[in-house]
Amino acid sequence: MTERPARPDVVHTVTTTGLDVVERPLGAGARLWASGAVRKTLVLAALAGLWEGYARALDNALLFPTLSSTGAALLAGLASGDLPRAAVYTLGVLLKGYAAGLLLAALLTALASATRLGADLLETLTAMFNPLPSIALLPLALIWFGLGEGSVIFVLIHAVLWAVALNTHAGFRAVSPTLRMVGRNYGLSPAGYLTRILIPGAFPSILTGLKVGWAFAWRTLIAAELVFGVSSGSGGLGWYIFERKNQLLIPDVFAGLLTVILFGLFVEHAIFKTVERRTIRRWGMQI
């Protein structure tokens, strides 16, 4: 080993004078750009502009009406009361089917978390039925439950049940062993353990299940009304679209589709996003 020259200790004095910025509020532009609502409104405006531009260039109202004529058809539909009536009807059926699906999913998941056989049952049923398109069950449902709301609710349950049950079950299983032990350590009852540890712990997955279930329910319902629209009495949005197409009222068809899209945007942003912000994002379980 060779002798190295000794190095002296060095001590600095730290000062903040002369520093340009330690902390500075962001400018108005940067703060505006940080807002998701602003960015998404821009995206929507760009899409609307694209639609209007393409439709004008195409200039064929039968194939692709402009945004403005669709808007006019939407307003006319709203004013006549046909569109709101169809939307309310569709929404009513949708909520009934969604609620029934959630209830069944809750029962199945509870059974699956309580017993191993229940878990096997849920996993097998999900593997069997989840890939089956709900709409494919409609002809069968029509035979079983007749031409009415019953058949549509049956296929809606099928659409919602598996997605929600699968996600909730997976979420429960992903709750960390430490949190489980914490719950048991403080002597929670089985019901308390479920509501105060498992459900909040699995909430990110549960919320995903609810979203996916909601989307599946919409698709299934609109498709069911389109194909078998006449099956359910007064007719909902799908039937509205189907009927207007037969009369070649294409802007009205677009107005019907736009209504579905607007509902989708509203539920995603006003409901699911709010729930997300107040729960899992606030808790740091999702970024």
Partner: protein, 261 residues
């Protein structure tokens, strides 16, 4: 019961657990006694079954042989009279604020009513110097702060025995030393009984008033020693660490440095 009566008796305890394809014996016929206000440390290398032993005292696991008694009563289920503080930072419920994590423990176990729980949570948060963070969510805290909340939660329960499973192992060395000092200060304050598991010999010497050494795989009692005194000189402490190191790894005292921090 006087202070010298054992609070916790672990008597010839053999613990086994199942993995997917093995039956593993974690500890073999381990016996020891913990008295009230002990800072009892279980020390051993990885895989000596010390955490498993602690979970058995917590009631999460039943011995296949022997018995574990708390105040003369057999332990057969988890309960709020034995609160565990874990190594993992995720032991705080992410959906509750710091203070609510503590009041949750107190109300879920029906120890206190809501209002009393609130007052006690504030008291213990103050003890660990986290009052300014009472309404923060756990994910906004540093690792050391989370552990302090977990310790405050455990202490707020005022359990008969506090079980700590390597509570400082996931912290950086600097924070770890601070936390050890803080634990000793808290103990000076309230004289709680704590069963503390660690794989770090210096930590055992610093924290423990009594040290149980376990051998590796399966864990068997190698020795039970008096712990260090907080006022010990550095030399005395170093000698003690070397002595324990020699006992644990069967090498003559003073041969080579400990690989364990």
């Amino acid at each position: 019961m006087t202070d010298s009566d054992p609070l916790l008796q672990v008597d010839g305890v053999t613990l086994q657990y199942r993995t997917t394809d093995h039956l593993v014996t974690a500890t073999y016929r381990v016996s020891f006694e913990v008295r009230t206000a002990d800072r009892f440390v279980i020390l051993g290398p990885s895989g000596c079954g010390k955490s498993t032993l602690l979970k058995a005292v917590g009631g999460f696991l039943r011995p296949v042989e022997g018995r574990i008694l708390l105040g003369g009563v057999t332990i057969d289920a988890p309960g709020p009279d034995r609160v565990l503080v874990f190594q993992e930072f995720d032991q705080l419920l992410p959906w509750k604020t710091v203070k609510d994590n503590i009041t949750f423990a107190l109300t879920a176990s029906r120890t206190l009513s809501n209002r009393e729980a609130d007052a006690r949570a504030r008291h213990y948060l103050d003890k660990v110097h986290l009052t300014p963070f009472a309404d923060s969510y756990p994910h906004t805290l540093s690792g050391g702060m989370k552990q302090r909340v977990a310790i405050a939660r455990g202490m707020a329960m005022e359990p008969r025995i506090l079980l700590m499973d390597e509570p400082f192992a996931a912290l950086d060395a600097l924070t770890r030393t601070q936390m050890q000092a803080e634990l000793l200060r808290l103990w000076d304050d309230t004289r709680f009984t704590v069963l503390f598991v660690t794989h770090s010999i210096p930590e055992a010497v610093r924290v423990g008033s009594r040290i149980l050494l376990l051998s590796a795989h399966p864990g068997q009692v190698r020795a039970e020693l008096a712990g260090g005194d907080p006022d010990d000189s550095d030399e005395a402490r170093t000698a003690r660490v070397a002595h324990i190191d020699a006992l644990l790894f069967d090498r003559p005292a003073g041969s080579g440095r400990s690989q364990h921090d």
